[in-house]
């Protein structure tokens, strides 16, 4: 087996048994990036020297017998998670040369675990988009079909994992930005419960919805990565001091005690591709065959979720992105001498059209006279959606749905049609509004060979249940051996 094709679990075993070294593994990943990233475009920054140095340090730790599961494992990081001394752009021209003087908490934790940070991955600018076309720098292509989008906004993360350019990656999910690209690229991605993982050092898009999570080749790999990054952080007031179980200790004893809910409203969702619907139905049958009981549940306010989300997220974004004003760091139009003109010109040149669109939307929604009708109403809907899930979870342990209504579509298709792009978030963004965890696990392929993902959502802080169902489904579905041909 080629080193870059290893899963984290496999590589970790080989490293511990001294059958391979992290230097060899990291070299293999850098070679793989060299070989295929010209076609995929997943990385914005590759830190070859830094990665090799970390690999050497990891080998020392392994030699000292002081290794954690991620020691020596090469990982990629979405480029809106701050890495000390390593350029962090958020795929935006406005932060093109921004080098953070601090690590995000998740990065400190990965470094403490001995992981090797290979580089920074492309995304939709400031995580705004579902295609990774809205990057200020480059388009990332789907490794399964280079004419298709990889999904987004963590498209670079999903594509890099799918194309074996890292063993695992971190992404962030505000409305589906981990799960949807994982689905489109045929990898596993989990958005943890809001508050499970520290947001300190995650450049904010919509603070009440953002959550960092891992993308990996397998369910087990995601669990190993989540083990390393989860847990309360005093630097993030919204991180929750809940006990963190060992997620990688996945229950393997069947699903006979598990009740799975199928939301009635999702089958009639706008734009659901029949092939996706069929793949999800087959997945439900497989899960039933593993012993789970499937019941119908209702999430009556689903129809309002997209509208509420596209008020709340841009509102928060309009405020979160105000700091990119050209004064202290990042891009500034130095030709301007008037303050107001400097602000206008800097932000007009520095932000791409999708980011500008959302800043304008959010600014409008928060304006005097409109606040109650938009932000206020959307917040009320959010409460109703939370209540929907609470009611549903009274009768089931997990909820199953598609991740995206269609497989990955052609690059360029929604560029001039943001509304269609927004509507494609229908199955994922409710989990963000409700703060619950959701995982995407591959469940099939379309007729033209594009991956389709299955979403499993759970109760607050019950990621373990998602790992349990996803892991057993993954084993039964036997889809992980299939690789994109690059």
């Amino acid at each position: 087996m080629k080193l870059h094709e290893l899963t984290i679990a496999q590589a970790s075993g080989l490293l511990k048994n001294k059958e391979i070294t992290s230097v060899e593994l990291t070299r293999a990943i850098l070679d793989r990036i060299e070989a295929v990233d010209g076609r995929v475009g997943a990385y914005l920054t590759v830190d070859a020297d830094g990665a090799m140095a970390q690999a050497k340090a990891a080998d020392q730790r392994l030699a000292d017998g002081d290794a954690a599961p991620l020691t020596g494992i090469p990982l990629g990081i979405k480029d809106l998670i701050c890495t000390q001394g390593l350029r962090t752009t958020c795929a935006s021209k406005i932060l093109e040369n921004f080098i953070p003087p601090y690590d995000a908490t998740v990065i400190s934790r990965l470094k403490n675990a001995g992981a090797v940070i290979v580089g920074k991955l492309n995304m939709d600018e400031f995580a705004m988009g579902s295609t990774t076309e809205h990057s200020g720098f480059q388009v990332t292509r789907n490794p399964w079909n280079l004419d298709r989008i990889p999904g987004g906004s963590s498209g670079g993360s999903a594509a890099a994992v799918a194309a074996d350019m890292c063993l695992g990656a971190l992404g962030s999910d505000t409305g589906g930005s981990i799960r949807q690209p994982a689905s489109h690229c045929g990898v596993v991605g989990i958005k943890p419960t809001y508050g499970r993982v520290s947001r300190f050092g995650l450049v904010a898009f919509a603070s009440s919805l953002d959550q960092i999570g891992p993308l990996g080749k397998t369910v087990a790999d995601c669990a190993i990565m989540l083990d390393a990054i989860a847990g309360h952080d005093p630097r993030d007031s919204t991180s929750v001091p809940e006990p963190v179980p060992t997620f990688s200790a996945i229950a393997e004893n069947g699903l006979s005690d598990v009740v799975v809910g199928i939301p009635r409203e999702y089958s009639s969702a706008h734009g659901l591709d029949p092939q996706v619907g069929a793949a999800v139905e087959r997945a439900v049958k497989t899960i039933e065959s593993l012993g789970a009981r499937c019941i119908e549940v209702s999430l009556p306010h689903t129809d309002y979720a997209v509208a509420a989300y596209y008020v709340i997220a841009p509102s928060e974004a309009s405020s979160n992105l105000a700091r990119y004003d050209g004064v202290k760091y990042g891009f500034r139009d130095r030709t301007q001498t008037d303050l107001l003109q400097m602000y206008r010109s800097t932000r007009t040149q520095g932000f791409g059209p999708e980011v500008q669109r959302r800043i304008i939307l959010g600014t409008y929604a928060l304006s005097a006279g409109y606040y109650d009708a938009y932000y206020g109403k959307a917040s009320q809907i959010r409460t109703l959606i939370k209540n929907d899930f609470q009611t549903a979870f009274a009768s089931c342990d997990a909820i199953i749905s598609p991740v995206a209504p269609t497989p990955a579509y052609p690059i360029g298709e929604t560029l001039d049609d943001p509304l269609t792009m927004y509507l494609s978030d229908i199955f994922t963004l409710s989990a963000n509004l409700a703060g619950i965890p959701g995982i995407s696990v591959p469940c099939g392929f379309s007729d033209d060979g594009l991956p389709i993902g299955l979403q499993i959502m759970g109760r607050h802080f019950n990621e373990s249940m998602l790992f349990q169902i996803a892991r057993q489904f993954e084993r039964a579905a036997t889809l992980t051996d299939k690789k994109p041909l690059l």
């Binding site: 809106l80 953070p100 947001r199 919204t238």
Partner: protein
């Protein structure tokens, strides 16, 4: 036609916590620019605020001192606007759900007690400072002050005169200093005030259109600016015009207010709850802990001085007007336990001295121990009242104890009759006319004789003893 002013005040007080409100940077004043900063207060990408609990402690204390209700749940909100001294592009403040509401403050104006309602108290972060280059069209940004905790105290429009506004501010400031939560220094900007003012015809209950006046950076300027505004608005109304709702800037050098922006140019701050901070939950236990730490406040001290020391309401108010003065008074009492005497000396000689020299009580050249020491010497008849004044002046010059000064200058009072007798005899012998007139019934000439003896002894003779001897010898 006469008008009644209607005034409401918004006060910003810098809280003297050791660290900033949302990060652990120092709040110390006067450091080189941008040295008390970190990624959090600089608003770098991805950083998050963490609330300094001391700020909440302090604000709860202020809420208790002003009879406000501490809200069991309050929220931080973002106030969005662009300015180079505001690195995040928004200020974290409180808006719809402030920490405390519905209190009051009692003040005395011209011997009348007035109750001024307090609408709300909330917490927020301060912005940085811009330093404009006088020679070139550039501005520099200093973010040391960014994130310094502020408490905003908003009054009801209950104030009816500039004097009452001044008194309200002085009282607020006194409370802040008694609580030891703010320096309350207007000139240095740790205590800032904006005023909302309108006028209405006497007897009316319908408020007029108000103007907001900014840049009031001393107590004196607050009263001056309010007088100016009252006159300005009165003139408009008497001319048949209408006051415009606007924000006006006080120009202290010109003694006038000028329009800054009208209602239509008012900022839309697009407030919304800050998603980075959880709702602030304050349980009874927290409030009770703060209540237990409350020091005696000015109103309580004033009542105690009246009840226990028999001071008049006016004297008690003067002495409790600032914590420093009140503490001075009590430090004196700890050595010399005659409250009325101490009060008289503080309000007369000491405040007179400080006033002349233009210094605050904190920098008094006469320490409470020294003043008490002087009063002890006076009380024990070691020195006379007249000599005491001289010694007080010498203490003010040198800062040395009364006893040392008295000993060095030989100012000890002479009560020994054998020393005074010959001087009395000499005075009687040297003033035959006065003696004759005194003996003929002009008893008030006693003062003349005493004066002569005191003059001869350069004030050192004990006046009581002198009187006795004179009375005896003059028959």
């Amino acid at each position: 036609m006469e008008f009644t002013p209607v005034i409401g005040l918004e006060v910003h007080a810098q809280l003297k916590t050791r660290t900033k409100i949302f990060c652990s940077c120092s709040t110390a004043f006067g450091a080189p620019p941008n040295t008390h900063t970190c990624p959090v207060c600089l608003g770098m990408p991805g950083v998050l605020p963490v609330l300094n609990k001391k700020v909440v402690d302090y604000t709860i204390k202020m809420a208790l001192a002003t009879h406000c209700t501490v809200q069991p749940e309050s929220r931080f909100a973002r106030k969005n606007y662009f300015y180079p001294d505001l690195p995040k592009g928004y200020q974290i403040s409180q808006y719809e759900l402030p920490i405390a509401t519905g209190g009051y403050l009692d003040i005395d104006v011209d011997g009348r007690s007035l109750r001024i309602g307090i609408t709300r108290i909330h917490m927020e972060e301060d912005a940085g400072k811009l330093i404009h280059d006088p020679d070139r069209p550039i501005s520099r940004v200093d973010l040391n002050r960014t994130g310094t905790p502020l408490m905003e105290i908003v009054s009801e429009p209950d104030i009816r005169s500039p004097e009452a506004a001044g008194e309200y501010l002085r009282r607020l400031r006194a409370i802040l200093r008694y609580l030891d939560i703010s320096d309350g220094n207007m000139e240095e900007g740790s205590f800032r005030c904006d005023a909302n003012i309108s006028i209405m015809p006497d007897g009316s209950t319908v408020f007029g259109t108000r103007a907001e006046v900014k840049n009031l950076n001393s107590f004196k300027h607050v009263e001056k600016a309010l007088y100016y505004e009252i006159a300005r608005q009165k003139e408009i109304l008497l001319d048949g015009g209408q006051v415009v709702q606007e924000t006006r800037l006080w120009q202290p050098d010109k003694g006038q207010t000028v329009s800054m922006r009208g209602k239509e140019d008012a900022h839309d701050y697009r407030y919304f709850p800050d998603p980075d901070l959880l709702p602030l939950v304050i349980d009874d236990g927290w409030v009770d802990r703060m209540r237990a730490q409350m020091p005696e406040l000015p109103a309580q001290r004033q009542a105690r001085y009246m009840a226990d020391y028999g001071l008049s309401p006016a004297d008690a108010r003067v002495l409790t007007g600032s914590r420093e003065l009140s503490d001075y008074f009590e430090a004196c009492l700890a050595v010399f336990d005659q409250p009325k005497t101490v009060a008289n000396w503080i309000m007369g000689d000491l405040l007179g001295l400080l006033n002349t020299r233009g210094v605050e009580i904190e920098n008094t050249p006469v320490s409470p121990e020294n003043l008490a020491g002087l009063l002890e010497l006076l009380d024990a008849d070691v020195i006379s009242g007249k000599i005491a004044k001289t010694v007080f002046e010498a203490m003010a010059e040198t800062g040395r104890p009364a006893k040392t000064i008295v000993e060095e200058k030989g100012l000890v009072q002479v009560s020994d009759t054998s020393a005074i007798d010959p001087i009395v005899d000499a005075v009687i012998a040297g003033s035959p006319d006065e003696v004759e007139r005194y003996r003929g019934g002009q008893k008030k000439l006693m003062g003349f004789f005493v004066g002569q003896v005191m003059k001869q002894t350069r004030g050192k003779a004990n006046p009581k003893v002198v009187n006795e001897i004179l009375a005896k010898k003059l028959g």
